[in-house]
Symmetry: C3
Subunit: 328 residues, 3 copies
């Protein structure tokens, strides 16, 4: 699988200029971002980390697909780096007047909004836009169709690293609707690059299982009880109701019985296994409520790491732009 | 009437940690908040008061029931104390994806959004949430069903104190749909605690009058012309059209004739009586337009005091959290 | 044509207090605003200009008619001058509760939001509101019906001045739906005052052509090919579909054939002519896509100048308020 975004997101010197996909990032690049993110992590109850890495910069959130969690996470991350933030609800924006997306981007670029955070339900927009913006403008992909959600992948990797240390000894299960999940794809990319010991992907049937050429090297399972055996990390994915009917699973309760991460199933994983979920959860569908709130759950830690990772990505991308500027 | 919020909102040392209800606040506590609010008051035309009491803190506005006025008032108050503010329109948020409210709260908490301002049309949410958040997270009730609107009660008390001085000599009439009014309940709580001389509640019929066990000590009237006689303060409440029909009042005009605060009626109050309204007003329904804009109206002063009171509450709560942190 | 706004927008000493219309502004006043705006212009890729001209001030955006571009432009301009900004979506605000616009304004004013940026599809609101606000409150018109869009006129003038220098030697064509265009009216006002050599207005038929008493001194054309001959500046206006049918133009394609700014037509202008559009564009309707993206297009420069002009207007108005305050 080659990916246009992987090429597009680098400048002539090979530095990261956008973040569109985790494909093609080296272990060193990922580790540097995770290290910086770790620097921004603070325990609950302490004041959050803040600096002025983005002072004078304007970050625009363009969410063509609504997402309060991710939008707020980016907004908070940018504010804590001293940036000015504007939110554009692209559902109700000038798109209704028929303006093309590219004209909206050019407008923001002309206003010196130099970091554009985008989410879209369709594939291709971030890479397309990245090909057209001025050299000093950065595109951050905040979720693209079923393809890519790079900051989610990074926050998942950071969370596993915090809990498990050496990733080369870790066995990870990603369970649920893998076929339609950008979370699964980005997690697979980052964990593969970091040399995780084993990745298992489990989906209840063919419709929810990705094509054979995808996720090379991953172990494929349809039986969740077998898939979960002995893993260190269980990552449950959100399932959408309309997908269940396509997958011929009658309802949420049937999905939970057949494939939900329950306490009983979790006991088949390693005793110190952690449970992750990208949120928002369907409680007692893909994950039992007592698992989500249980001692092995690191779901809130993922959210906290999300802000730290977004700060690290924003600071890294912005530093790379400044480095480029100095040699012009 | 005992109130779960009154217990929940205090920490182990008895300090205010949340603000869910005015029930149970002592005269000293209320006076301290009003004094701090008064410190933040500036005359029209001067620059507003600002400090850095909330620097480094993130305030999240979660409005499950829309309210531009109150949301903006809290947003401005938090900004002027140096906080970062994020707005979540909970009508269009991930709630549509089926996320529980508590998961949204946990998400914000994990993002180090440590002050959560909530409004909801249903009763119980602020106290419920307050029982579940981490020790450093504060819940501020910005309007809860018909039950509680504590910052409104405080701004009403501040306004009366500014205009009338010694509250123990003041007679207050609250007029309108008392039964369904959180404004009336919070006003009654704060004014009772401050030892106001007399509170009269007036509603045009039984449907709009609260149950007998509520508002103990208040004088009850159904005739507005008798109720208004000789009072120092007239507080008109907003009436909603659907309530009028339930109350068998045919329309807005009939309500105005029967119960509206008109110039003619206002003359029966004390000559220096002040007129208040929590806004937004139905002009010429519960209050005559010339009364709202007249020399006895302090309605805009209430709005100005609203920002000052919210600054005082934010600063107080935040200071209490910091005090607790130092002894951990 | 006399305009209430032209009188209302000045204080007793004749200083600009609001910006409601460009009518009545002197050449000196306009030049001073453009000079300050030019001071705020930065090349693409450089950090935007910032100062603290509006520190301590609160700017409220009240958009009764939605406009993401203009709202974001004002929001960014205010932020870069150190102001606090609140956005009120007046479609979903307390207007639904029946609050009058004036009560909303009084509420914001009481909260010390002292600069109110307003857009409305109906005529008259900015001048009406300006007559009622307190002396320290400023109203900025961000688009009013077909009548006035003063910051757009100023940014158009700044763009022409940057590209052409001496305006007295410049011939400007405004082409399209002049009758319903606030952009055309504000451009005509500012360019007339600055002594532009010639203004031509071109509309495809009577319905889109303004009344004879409007645009005095402008040359009127219905044939775009004749109108464009030898001009230095071509300003294309947005056309709305419903206007085309009223103008008996069957569809967008017919409009483009009959009146669109195409490469072929642009060749009839001066070789160094510039092409402008207020945005958002209907590509290949009123302007050919290759013209919009071509070397003669200054459309993105207009957007960049928009932020600079809004910063200049905000700073000027705020300085005038402070000057007035010192002599009270």
């Amino acid at each position: 699988m080659t990916d246009l975004g992987a090429t597009i997101q680098r400048d002539a010197e090979g530095r990261l200029r956008h973040l569109i996909t985790l494909e093609g990032l080296t272990r060193e690049e990922i580790t540097a971002i995770l290290d910086l993110a770790q620097f921004y992590v603070r325990p609950p109850g302490e004041l959050p980390a803040r600096d002025q890495s983005l002072a004078g910069h304007t970050v625009a959130n363009l969410f063509f697909e609504p997402s309060t969690r991710t939008r707020v996470s980016f907004e908070i991350a940018a504010q804590r780096l001293g940036a000015e933030v504007v939110n554009l609800d692209m559902q109700t924006s000038s798109r209704v007047k028929g303006e093309t997306v590219l004209d909206t981007i050019y407008t923001l670029q002309a206003m010196h909004a130099d970091i554009l955070v985008m989410r879209d339900a369709e594939p291709g927009l971030p890479a397309y836009v990245a090909q057209h913006v001025a050299p000093h403008v950065c595109i951050l992909n905040a979720g693209e169709a079923h393809l890519s959600h790079p900051t989610q992948g990074l926050l998942d990797a950071l969370t596993i690293r915090q809990m498990k240390g050496d990733l080369t000894k870790v066995s990870v299960l990603i369970a649920g609707d893998i076929a339609h999940s950008r979370v699964a794809r980005s997690a697979w990319q980052v964990l593969s690059t970091l040399g995780v010991k084993e990745i298992r992907i489990a989906a209840p049937d063919d419709y929810l299982m990705p094509k054979p050429r995808e996720f090379p090297g991953a172990i494929r399972e349809t039986d969740i009880d077998r898939a979960i055996q002995g893993v260190d990390v269980v990552m449950a994915l959100r399932i959408q109701r309309e997908r269940m009917s396509s997958a011929q699973i009658p309802d949420e309760s049937a999905y939970h019985d057949q494939f939900g991460i329950t306490m009983e199933r979790l006991r088949k994983a390693r005793p110190d296994a952690i449970v992750m979920h990208p949120g928002p959860m369907n409680r007692d569908v893909e994950i039992a409520s007592n698992v989500a709130d249980g001692s092995q759950s690191v779901i809130q830690r993922q959210v906290a790491n999300g802000v730290a990772v977004r700060m690290a990505v924003l600071a890294t991308i912005s530093r790379n732009v400044q480095a480029r500027r100095q040699f012009q």
